[in-house]
Point group: C2
Chain length 144, copies 2
DNA sequence: CTGGATCCGGTTTGATACTG
DNA sequence: CAGTATCAAACCGGATCCAG
């Protein structure tokens, strides 16, 4: 391991490494996992599956809320690939597919739990902060 | 503007509400907060600021890693609006702006901590799951 | 009929160039 | 140094279409 500092991108903005001897492989992998998991739909689906247990595709979509089929499919695929959910297809007519959290998926759900609690605890403080920020900026109607 | 819904056919996919009497305002707000916070860059910036304390814009960009200026700016703005960081501008000739986590921001960082631990704990299991999934899928679905 | 794959249009992100 | 401006690329949502 010598001089692996080869800049992956030529532009000088990011990609600078700190001088810390962190294992780059593990670092990158953990970062990648965070990138895959720190996603709105992933969290929402995880939460829904945790709350209701095994669910079918359409039912899951309804319970999650405003999610498109495409994102539901895509997110579930990635979660399946990462070992967070198992996908079971019953070869019947009409099709029946159900999704269940794996042990690891439940673990992630538990880990995210504190974030949900944080959100519920601080929601009004966040709203105040948003209002104050909007006022400070003059015109920034962040209404969704 | 009445009656114009269902133009060809209001598609029945999402937007269904569960019959549960959950406070819709709070529900939507918490969901919105999760949507804002469950973001790759938000988590990464949060982690970096938590680890290194108050930092300047460029330094933060370097430490976070492969992030573009635009996303760094944008994410920091939203975090500021949500009250997660404070942005302090020193009116000096080379501009000097530094970012610091607020109390609430540190709270969110602590909440995310368990997710980082989860990622570090299960990284090899995830890798295995990914490999297994790729092998399972990769061979079968090769089409034209 | 359910699950999901595909095409199209709008939005978001990324990479570069430029400014105070 | 700390951003904006700008254009291309990737992504997301919605609708349609398809397979079992």
């Amino acid at each position: 391991m010598n001089q692996i500092d080869t800049p992956p991108r030529l532009y000088e903005w990011a990609g600078r490494k700190s001088a810390q001897p962190v294992d780059p492989a593990l670092e990158g992998l953990v970062r990648d996992i965070i990138g895959a998991v720190a996603d709105k739909w992933t969290m929402l689906i995880l939460e829904t599956l945790e709350a209701h247990g095994t669910m079918r595709f359409t039912e899951l979509g309804h319970k999650v809320g405003e999610i498109s089929q495409k994102m539901l499919t895509k997110t579930l695929r990635r979660m399946e690939a990462d070992g967070l959910v198992t996908r079971k297809v019953h070869p019947v007519v009409p099709p029946h597919v159900d999704y269940t959290l794996t042990e690891m998926g439940r673990g992630l759900g538990a880990a995210f739990c504190s974030v949900w609690i944080w959100a519920e605890t601080h929601h009004d403080e966040i709203e105040q902060a948003r209002t104050a920020f909007a006022k400070r900026q003059g015109v920034a109607v962040v209404r969704t």
